[in-house]
Symmetry: C2
Subunit: 203 residues, 2 copies
Amino acid sequence: MIISKQYISPVAKELLRTNPLANEAYRQIIQAIELNATELSGKFVINSSEKNANGVVPVKENIYARLEDEYGWFREKPLPYLVEAKKGGPIDVYNEFEQFKVGLEFETGNISSAHRAMNKLCVGIKHDDIDMGVLILPIHTLSYYLTDRVSNYEELEPYFVLLDEYPFIVIGFDADEYNPQAPILPKGKDGMSQRAIHKWKGY
Amino acid sequence: MIISKQYISPVAKELLRTNPLANEAYRQIIQAIELNATELSGKFVINSSEKNANGVVPVKENIYARLEDEYGWFREKPLPYLVEAKKGGPIDVYNEFEQFKVGLEFETGNISSAHRAMNKLCVGIKHDDIDMGVLILPIHTLSYYLTDRVSNYEELEPYFVLLDEYPFIVIGFDADEYNPQAPILPKGKDGMSQRAIHKWKGY
């Protein structure tokens, strides 16, 4: 896939410039997105035969699986603060680079869910449960061919101003190619391999 | 109704203490909530015969109607910044106290929608489109008897830490009484009077 749009907050910019651990985490995420492919050639080709043709879950799962398998990230990391408050689910994907803690969310729900995912990462940062938050979303052009109403980068963009004081990165990705003849990505859990995920609590 | 729980950010506290316009806006909102009643006696009695028995829209509409009719607030005020970005709907209820601009949202959707409403007010504040944001929600006990999955104060509470630097108030309200024999509040638009709302664009 292609990294098409990006928001890197001033604080995150400084981190990427000065902190090798932050930089390594960022590099791994970019890699996991860029290496996500539907073809052996390494290209991600999306079926563009009609609106909402493809499921978004396989896109997410492939990126998560690479972060787990290649780089040892964990799934479903509870945020101590939210656990204590008995509110809110875990962070999707999480890793610790020595002392530097990074949380990542790929929001496959609608735009309101994207707001919640963004706020969850911010609360984690506020409470020092994570040191950098990363949200990844399809750009609008790609989301048109994914599950109905999946949130996209541009929709959330007017709200990035709220992230200016947080170590926060938002990444908008796109397919390498659009082709009405390409295989359709299944919706829901259909067609997903039965691999066990690498949960934090199993650590 | 009763004001049962409240979050007033440090900035908002200072505003209420020093700015009579902010204080007047706040007073009007509190009044509109406290005077919301289902009985001529002035009490708000909720039907507590079963979970999700009542609709939440009448609760909202009565509060909004009072703000409009008694105090001249406006409905559906577009935020200039979001209009420019072509993203996001208007603020639910809005008024200007001389130069002091206040936006209020009553979120009747699920918890993700409450995150979006909160963020919308924050973006308005960041861009100086509003000077104070107010979010009102039922507390958990009351929401149990309202429309399924309507967001409640306690659910959003772990996220109030994100509001600390904003002039922001969150109000959690409750019914005066719970009674399994009380009239049921209709769901959806049923039973709502056909009054025309006082939209900002009609100003």
